[in-house]
C-alpha cells in the first residue's frame, strides 16, 4: 500500500513538474540544471528545522526579499516535499555518487548543527553531502568571481555555500547578480535588465512591479535556495532602561535616543570593543559600539533603516524633485571630541576620502560615486570634486549627483563624518592603517576615554553633544556576535546591552533572570548558494 502511494505521488509529481519547468543542465555541472536545484530546496524541511533547532525564532523564507510590501504574491512553492525532490532528481539523472561539498563561515554550534540536519535531509532523497567551515581567508574562498562571468569555470571550489545577505535597501539583494559580479550564478542579460529596472527610481510604488518580476524570475530559476529570514535580538540587563528609546536594526545606526537611557550602575557594559584597532565606520556601518556612539551622522534613521528619516548633525536638508541635488545646513556649535569646531569642510573631506577608499559599504560607495566629478577625482585626474560646494560661515553644503541614487538619504543616516584635522594627508587606500584608529576622535554622544586593545575600551559622555548629555559611561569588551563569549560574560554579569543573531544565545539569555531579549525584524536572509558554473 505504501509503495502504491509512493508510486502514485511520484507520477503525480512528475506531471506537476512537467507543467512548471522544462529545463536541463546548461553546462557540465549538474547543479546548473534547475530541476536539481529545485529538488535540493524541496529536500530541506525548514519547518521542522525551525521548530527544533531554531526554537521557532526564525521565519521560513520563500525568496531573497524579506516579507513586506515588496514580496511577490506569485512565488513558486518549494516547501518540504521529499517525494517530488526524488522525482526531480531522477528526471535530471542525478549522479548518486556525487558528494556535494558545502562550505559555511559561521563558527557557532548552531550552524554546524544545521549543516548536519541538512546533510541528513539530503541523504533522505539520495543526495550525498559533506560540509566544512571555511578558515583563513574566507572572502577569497567564498566570493572569488570567475573571469568569464557567463561560462565560467568557477573561481571557487565548493558546490553549496551557506551564508547570508543582509541589506538595508532592497536593491542590495539583487545587485550582486549582475553579470561578472556573482561567484555562483552565471550572468545573463535578462537578469541584468531586471537589475537595471529596480535601480531606476527612488519611488517604492514605481519599483514594486520590478521587484515582483525579478523575485519571481529568480525563484523560478532557483539561483539560490532561500532558507530563512533571520531576526535580530537585542538583549538588555535590568541595569538598563531605555526610557522610551526605540529598538531597531542594531547592526546599523538608528535613532535610539541613547542620551536619555537610564543605567543604574552608571556604567553600561557591552561587547564589540576593539581588539587591535577601531574599525573605520564606513564598512560595517553600525556593527561596532564605537561606530554608533563615537561618530555622528548628518541624518538619523528610524528603527527600520531608511524609514522615518530625521536630522542629527544637520539642522535641515533639502532634496530637489529629481533627486539629483541635496543640500544640508549644519546645526550651530558642533564640536569634535577634542574641542575643535566641526564644519561643512569636514563633511566635504569625508565624502572625498570615501570616494578614494576601497573598503566601503556598498550603500556608501554607491552614493559617493554618484556625485558629479567623483570618478575624475577618484582616478586622480582632478584635485577637487566639482559636485560638492560648501560655505563654512553659512554651515551649508550642497551635493550634486550625476546619476540617481535611490537610497541617498539612507546613506547619510549611516555615513559617519570624520575630522579633517586628524586625518589630513592620509593615503585613502590605507585608510584603516592610520594611527587615528588607535584612539579615534568623533563627534558622537560618547567620547573615548581609555582603551586597552583586546581588553576593554571605556567611553564617557560627550558634554558638547547636540542631542543632550548622557549620564553613564560605556565599557566595551572585545567580543562579538557568535564568538561564544557572550553568554559567559552575560552569566557573569558583564553584559548590559548588545545584540545577537544567534538563536541559541537567545534561549540562554532568556533563561537568565536579569536579562531580557527583544526580537527585531531585519532584512537578513540566510540561504544556500548553489554553484552553477562548471567546476574549476
Amino acid at each position: 500500500m505504501k509503495k502504491l502511494i509512493a508510486v502514485i505521488s511520484l507520477v503525480l509529481a512528475q506531471l506537476l513538474f512537467v507543467s512548471t519547468v522544462s529545463a536541463q543542465a546548461t553546462n557540465s555541472n549538474q547543479l546548473s540544471d534547475p530541476r536539481v536545484r529545485q529538488a535540493l530546496c524541496m529536500a530541506i524541511d525548514m519547518e521542522l528545522i525551525k521548530s527544533t533547532l531554531f526554537e521557532d525564532q526564525i521565519i521560513v523564507a520563500d525568496s531573497l526579499l524579506p516579507n513586506g510590501p515588496m514580496k511577490s504574491p506569485n512565488l513558486p512553492d518549494y516547501s518540504y516535499n521529499p517525494e517530488k525532490a526524488k522525482a526531480l532528481l531522477a528526471e535530471a539523472n542525478w549522479d548518486n555518487d556525487r558528494v556535494l561539498d558545502t562550505v559555511f563561515y559561521y563558527g557557532d554550534q548552531l550552524t554546524s548543527d544545521l549543516m548536519a540536519a541538512i546533510q541528513g535531509m539530503f541523504a533522505d532523497v539520495g543526495v550525498k553531502m559533506t560540509y566544512r567551515l571555511l578558515q583563513g581567508d574566507v572572502g577569497a574562498q567564498l566570493n572569488s568571481v570567475p573571469e568569464d562571468g557567463v561560462n565560467g569555470p568557477a573561481a571557487v571550489d565548493y558546490d553549496l555555500g551557506y551564508g547570508a545577505r543582509g541589506a538595508m535597501v532592497m536593491q542590495e539583494y539583487y545587485n550582486t547578480f549582475k553579470t561578472g559580479l556573482n561567484p555562483q550564478t552565471p550572468g545573463n542579460p535578462k537578469m541584468d535588465a531586471m537589475i537595471e529596472k529596480i535601480n531606476s527610481s527612488a519611488d517604492p510604488e514605481v519599483l514594486k512591479p520590478y521587484f515582483f518580476e525579478i523575485q519571481e524570475y529568480q525563484m523560478n530559476e532557483v539561483n539560490i535556495c532561500p532558507l530563512y529570514y533571520q531576526k535580530l535580538f537585542i538583549y538588555e540587563s535590568d541595569n538598563v532602561d531605555r526610557n522610551g528609546g526605540a529598538y531597531g536594526n542594531a547592526q546599523y545606526n538608528y535613532n535610539w535616543d541613547i542620551t536619555n537611557w537610564k543605567v543604574n550602575t552608571g556604567t553600561m557594559q557591552t561587547n564589540t570593543g576593539p581588539t587591535e584597532f577601531f574599525e573605520q565606520p564606513w564598512y560595517n556601518l553600525g556593527l561596532w559600539i564605537h561606530n554608533k556612539i563615537v561618530f555622528d551622522r548628518l541624518l538619523v534613521s528610524g528603527g527600520a533603516i531608511g524609514t522615518d528619516i530625521g536630522v542629527s548633525m544637520a539642522e535641515s536638508y533639502e532634496m530637489s524633485a529629481d533627486g539629483l541635488n541635496l543640500s544640508f545646513k549644519l546645526k550651530p556649535g558642533l564640536k569634535w571630541h577634542d574641542g575643535t569646531d566641526l564644519t561643512v569642510k569636514d563633511v566635504a573631506f569625508s565624502l572625498r576620502l570615501a570616494m578614494k577608499s576601497p573598503q566601503m559599504h556598498a550603500l556608501v560607495g554607491n552614493t559617493v560615486s554618484s556625485i558629479v566629478g567623483a570618478e575624475a577625482f577618484a582616478n586622480g585626474s582632478t584635485d577637487d570634486v566639482s559636485g560638492i560646494k560648501y560655505n563654512i560661515a553659512n554651515r551649508e553644503i550642497s551635493i550634486e549627483f550625476a546619476k540617481l541614487d535611490p537610497n541617498v538619504l539612507t546613506t547619510f543616516t549611516q555615513f559617519a563624518i570624520l575630522p579633517e584635522s586628524q586625518l589630513a594627508g592620509i593615503d585613502p587606500a590605507q585608510l584603516q592603517q592610520h594611527p587615528f584608529w588607535q584612539f579615534p576622535i568623533g563627534s558622537g554622544a560618547f567620547k573615548l576615554e581609555e582603551v586597552k586593545m583586546n581588553d576593554f575600551a571605556k567611553f564617557v559622555p560627550n558634554e558638547d553633544y547636540h542631542g543632550g548629555v548622557a549620564n553613564f559611561d560605556v565599557l566595551a569588551y572585545p567580543s562579538y556576535d557568535g564568538d561564544g563569549n557572550l553568554i559567559k560574560n552575560a552569566a557573569a554579569g558583564k553584559m548590559d546591552y548588545g545584540f545577537t543573531k544567534n538563536v541559541a544565545d537567545v534561549g540562554a539569555l532568556n533563561a537568565m533572570s536579569n536579562m531580557m531579549t527583544k526580537a527585531v525584524d531585519i532584512p537578513y536572509t540566510r540561504m544556500l548558494w548553489i554553484m552553477q558554473y562548471p567546476k574549476p
Partner: protein, 304 residues
C-alpha cells in the same frame, strides 16, 4: 673433527641463538616486570577495552553516528540512547564509539608513523652519520624550534583543515623527537663491543643497524610512542576546540567535545560533553599508565 664438550656447549648456545630463544627470555623479563606494575596493567586493560569497543562499534550500537533525527533532539540518557542524543538527535554513544576510531587512528597512527620515520633515519644517521644525518639533524632542529602547538597551528593554517592534513602534520611535528632519541641511542650503542665485533665480521651496515642495533634502541622509543599518542589525542581535541581540527562533519572525540564551547550545552545538557570528555581523559590516562610501565621496565635508571 672431534667435538669437545665446549663445542657442544657452544652448539647448544648457537641453536638457542638461532631460534631466538635467548632474546625471548630477555623479553619475558621485561613483560613480567611490566605486568608487575599494577597501573600499567590497568592501563593496558582500559586501552584494550576502548580500542575493541571502537573497532566493534557496529555490534555495540545500531545507531549511525552521523544520522540526524531532529524529532528526537537533546534527549537525556535512556535505554534507547545510553548517552542521550545531541543537538541534532544523533546518538551520542554511537558517536563516541565511531569518533574514537578516528581519534585513536590519528593519535596512535601518526605517532607510529612518526616513530617509523624517526627510527629509520635516526638509526642510520646515528650509526653511519654522513650527509643524511646532517640534513636530518638540521630539519629536526627547525621543527623543534617551535612550541608544538604553535607549529601545529601554523601548519594547519598553511595546509587547511582535513583529516589527512592533520595526520601528516602530526607526523611532521612528531618525527623529530623520535629521530633525536633513536639517534642518541645509536650513538652510544655504536661504541659497544658487540657492534664492533659485528663490523669486524664484515656484516653489512644495513644489517647491523636495523637488525642488531635497532632492537636495543626500542625501549625508550616505545615510551615515546605512548607519550606522543597521548599528546596527539589531546592536541586533536584542543584543535577541534579552536575549530581548527578535523572538519566538523567527521565525528572525532575532539569534535564531539566541541559542543561544550556552547555555554548553553555546557550548562544544560551534560550528557553531550561529559561522557566524551571522560572517555578522552580515561583513554589518555590509560596510555600514560602504559607509558609509565614501559619506562619502568625498560629504563632501570628511572625506577622509583
Amino acid at each position: 673433527m672431534k667435538k669437545t664438550s665446549l663445542d657442544k656447549k657452544f652448539d647448544k648456545l648457537r641453536f638457542l641463538e638461532e631460534n631466538n630463544k635467548l632474546v625471548s627470555k630477555d623479553q619475558n623479563r621485561l613483560i613480567s616486570k611490566f605486568l608487575n606494575n599494577k597501573l600499567a596493567v590497568l592501563g593496558l586493560i582500559i586501552f584494550s577495552i576502548i580500542i575493541l569497543a571502537t573497532i566493534f562499534a557496529p555490534l555495540l550500537t545500531s545507531y549511525d553516528p552521523i544520522r540526524t533525527d531532529l524529532r528526537s533532539m537533546r534527549q537525556s540518557p535512556s535505554l534507547d540512547h545510553w548517552f542521550g542524543t545531541d543537538n541534532t538527535g544523533r546518538d551520542v554513544f554511537s558517536r563516541v564509539l565511531y569518533g574514537g576510531r578516528v581519534s585513536i587512528f590519528v593519535g596512535l597512527g601518526s605517532s607510529l608513523m612518526a616513530a617509523l620515520i624517526g627510527l629509520a633515519i635516526g638509526c642510520y644517521g646515528g650509526y653511519k652519520g654522513g650527509w643524511v644525518d646532517v640534513i636530518a639533524l638540521r630539519i629536526s632542529e627547525i621543527f623543534m624550534s617551535f612550541p608544538q602547538i604553535i607549529l601545529v597551528l601554523l601548519l594547519v593554517s598553511i595546509t587547511g583543515q582535513s583529516l589527512t592534513n592533520l595526520f601528516v602534520i602530526f607526523i611532521l611535528t612528531g618525527w623529530g623527537g623520535m629521530y633525536r632519541l633513536s639517534r642518541a641511542r645509536m650513538l652510544s650503542l655504536r661504541e659497544e663491543e658487540y657492534v664492533q665485533a659485528l663490523e669486524s665480521f664484515g656484516i653489512s651496515t644495513f644489517t647491523i643497524c636495523y637488525k642488531h642495533m635497532l632492537p636495543n634502541a626500542l625501549g625508550p622509543i616505545m615510551v615515546m610512542i605512548t607519550l606522543s599518542t597521548a599528546m596527539f589525542i589531546l592536541t586533536e581535541a584542543g584543535l577541534s576546540f579552536l575549530g581548527l581540527g578535523v572538519p566538523l562533519n567527521v565525528p572525532t572525540w575532539g569534535n564531539i567535545l566541541n559542543v561544550a564551547t556552547d555555554i548553553v550545552v555546557l550548562q544544560n545538557y551534560w550528557w553531550m560533553w561529559a561522557p566524551v570528555g571522560i572517555v578522552i581523559s580515561v583513554f589518555v590516562l590509560a596510555v600514560n599508565f602504559i607509558g609509565d610501565g614501559l619506562r619502568d621496565s625498560t629504563d632501570p635508571s628511572q625506577q622509583g
